[in-house]
Every structure is written in structure tokens, then in C-alpha cells.
């Protein structure tokens, strides 16, 4: 209990810092710390799958994305004095937010007893899926349609980002070209870390069928490693009009959808798996989905095309 109180206070302290810091870069560092502490909280709440996701996406890749944006914006950081809301508005906002928090706190204190749960039915059907991790079973079997749509949402976000490219560089290379520094620390780190990172990513993905882990967490690490080689200047981001890249991006959702539709023929329902082949089909979906998500996440971080295609 003392431990949890301490962690909760620390989370709140870092959150206050993120909101109150004068410097944007300092606020972003606070946000990275916030994600890291939330990962600890998820472990305490017996949700290791969520802890893995929070560590990988919430803190890691989102943090990297924000850091890049804050430093790019800072070069000509115009002071925002005069556009700050006045004291009255700030006070009104504070009162409103306090009320929202109080309302949510009241809901937390008035949760119904006994707590509603879907854990028993999830456990009862786990064996049919051939999986050992109930969260993966929810993502890939019971609520597979959510996951299918999620992969599509990621693609839509990427299409949105690509469409921000100015006319002249439509379909070009995303982001700035990073120069390789053959003697430098960055090259050394990239060469050492990337193979290890890829191994960790594959492990986290593979272990997901029996233990906490899975395709999103594994894919995020793979994406981070790709971005790392780009930042170290070892590879350039591919032009977004490349055919192989686009095939890679849609492979996951396409296989997912095809197997989902095949469910009509085999079992008579969308995304239904025949009992004997459930695990095989789930893994068949998961491998291309992981690769597609990894590519999508990396390109989401890389941003819109900034250099014309050759």
C-alpha cells in the first residue's frame, strides 16, 4: 500500500510537471517519465500486457515522436506571451477540471459490487482458441473485428499524414535525410542495438500466444529499430510511392480480412475460426499483421514526405 501510494504520488507529480513546465522540451521529458511510471502501475494492476504496450508505445515511440517535434519547432520558438488565456479564464478552467476529476473520483468510489467481469467466459473458451494468453485471445478471437479495424485505423492515419505532403514532393521520401557518421556513437549504437532489438521484438511477439506480449508490442520494437537505423543514417526512409512498401503495409489487414471472410465458408460467420485450425489461423494472421503494423508505426513517426522522389 505504501509502495502504491508513493507510485501514485510520483505519477501525479510528473503529470503536474508536464503541464506546468515552461519549456516544451522539459515537458516532453516529463511525459516520457509519465509513460515509464504508468508501465509500473500496470504491473501493479496485474495487467502485464498493458504494461508492455505502455512501455513500448506510450512511453517509447510516442516520446521519441514528441521529442523530434519539440526540437524541430524550437529552432524558431516564438514566445507565446499575449496568447495565454487570462487569469479569469484559467481560474474557470481550473474549477471545471476539478469538477470533472471530482465526478470521476465519485464514480470510482461508487463502483458497483460485485464488479462485473467477463473473465470466466474468457477463461472457459480459452482452450478452444489454442492460446494461453487470454488478452491475445480477446484481441485475435473473441473481439478480432476490433483488431482488424484497428489495423485499418493505423493505415488511415498514415494516409492522412502522407496527404500532408506539398504538391511537388508527393510520393517522395519522408522526413529529413540523416547523414551517416561512420566513426560516430550513433552508428555504433545502431549497429549494436538493432540486431538485439529485432530479437527482442520477435521474442515479445512470439511469447504473446502463451504469456503477456503480442503483435502490437513486438511490432513497436521492430518499428523503433527501423527508425533507429534511419536516424543513424544507415538506411534512408523509402519513398512512400514504392510498390513493395505499400504491399507490406496492407499485407496484414488483407490477410486478416481474407481469413475473416473465409470464416463464412468454413464455419458460417465472419472472423470465425474452425476449432481444429484456430491456432494455426491466428498465427497466420499475426505474422503479416505484425510486419504491417511495424512498418505503419515507423512511417507514422517518419512523417509526411519532405523530399521529392528521384
Amino acid at each position: 500500500m505504501a509502495f502504491d501510494t508513493g507510485v501514485a504520488v510520483l505519477v501525479l507529480g510528473v503529470a503536474v510537471w508536464t503541464i506546468a513546465a515552461r519549456d516544451t522540451f522539459a515537458a516532453v521529458v516529463g511525459f516520457v517519465a509519465y509513460g515509464l511510471l504508468l508501465a509500473l502501475v500496470w504491473v501493479r494492476l496485474a495487467a502485464p500486457d498493458v504494461a508492455l504496450t505502455e512501455a513500448a508505445i506510450g512511453s517509447g515511440v510516442t516520446g521519441g515522436l514528441m521529442l523530434g517535434a519539440s526540437t524541430r519547432l524550437r529552432r524558431t520558438d516564438t514566445p507565446a506571451v499575449g496568447e495565454k488565456p487570462g487569469a479569469v479564464l484559467r481560474l474557470a478552467a481550473a474549477v471545471l477540471c476539478a469538477l470533472v476529476s471530482a465526478g470521476l473520483a465519485a464514480i470510482v468510489l461508487l463502483f458497483p459490487e460485485p464488479a462485473p467481469t467477463l473473465a470466466p467466459p474468457a477463461a472457459a473458451n480459452l482452450e478452444v482458441t489454442g492460446l494461453g494468453n487470454p488478452v491475445t485471445a480477446v484481441l485475435m478471437a473473441y473481439r478480432a473485428i476490433d483488431t482488424l479495424l484497428e489495423t485499418v485505423v493505423l493505415l488511415l492515419a498514415l494516409v492522412g499524414i502522407w496527404s500532408l505532403a506539398p504538391d511537388g514532393i508527393w510520393g517522395g521520401f519522408p522526413g529529413p535525410r540523416h547523414k551517416a557518421d561512420s566513426e560516430g556513437v550513433l552508428t555504433f549504437v545502431a549497429q549494436l542495438l538493432v540486431p538485439v532489438g529485432i530479437l527482442v521484438g520477435i521474442y515479445i511477439f512470439w511469447v504473446g500466444s502463451v504469456a503477456p506480449g503480442g503483435e502490437f508490442q513486438g511490432a513497436t520494437i521492430l518499428a523503433a529499430m527501423w527508425i533507429l537505423t534511419m536516424m543513424a543514417g544507415q538506411v534512408d526512409a523509402p519513398p512512400v510511392s514504392q510498390r513493395w512498401l505499400r504491399l507490406l503495409l496492407i499485407a496484414g489487414p488483407a490477410v486478416f480480412l481474407a481469413i475473416g471472410l473465409a470464416g463464412f465458408a468454413m464455419v458460417g460467420a465472419f472472423l470465425a475460426y474452425p476449432v481444429d485450425y484456430a491456432k494455426v489461423l491466428i498465427v497466420t494472421i499475426e505474422i503479416p499483421v505484425t510486419l504491417s503494423i511495424a512498418a505503419t508505426l515507423a512511417l507514422l513517426v517518419a512523417g509526411p514526405p519532405e523530399r521529392a522522389p528521384k
Binding site: 509500473l40 504491473v43 512511453s59 526540437t71 549504437v189 532489438g197 536516424m231
Partner: protein, 89 residues
């Protein structure tokens, strides 16, 4: 044993937090990067201790992800930082 490991996790987090707020204030970005570095090492240590204390082996995987991404974030810091222009060229 579990109680001791939990207490050790709390102790490490508390010490790291003390330093965190001092150096988050800066003045330089270097200090802030060091703050994040210290917290990530402390967080990883706390996760490893929690994994043993609570018998949640998956917490070691969380620490593993944080360790991989800590190096990744460091590179993002440096690539983005304006002063690294000179280094990059």
C-alpha cells in the same frame, strides 16, 4: 523475501524521484536528459525487483522493452537537439 524486494523497489524509486525533480528544472537540456536516464534506470531496477517480489515474470519483459527503447530515445534526443547540428555535419 517478497516484502524486502518490494521495499527495495520503493526505495530505488524514491531516491530516483528525489533527483528527478531537481534536474528536471534544468538549466540545460543535458540535465533533463540525465534526469530521464536516471529515472529509466531506476524504473528498470524497480520493475526487475517487482517481477521477483510479485512473481510476475512478464515484468522482466517490460524492463527489457524499456531498456531497448531507452537507448532508442537517447538517440532521438540527440538527433533532435539543435546543438547537435555541428556534430552531425
Amino acid at each position: 523475501m517478497a516484502d524486502f524486494l518490494l521495499a527495495a523497489a520503493g526505495f530505488v524509486l524514491a531516491t530516483v524521484a528525489m533527483g528527478l525533480f531537481r534536474i528536471l528544472r534544468g538549466p540545460g537540456d543535458d540535465d533533463r536528459i540525465m534526469a530521464a536516464q536516471l529515472l529509466s534506470t531506476g524504473g528498470i531496477a524497480a520493475l526487475l525487483l517487482l517481477a521477483a517480489a510479485m512473481s510476475v515474470p512478464a515484468a522482466v519483459d517490460v524492463a527489457l522493452i524499456l531498456a531497448v527503447l531507452a537507448a532508442f530515445i537517447t538517440v532521438a534526443f540527440v538527433k533532435g537537439a539543435p546543438r547537435s547540428e555541428a556534430d552531425r555535419a
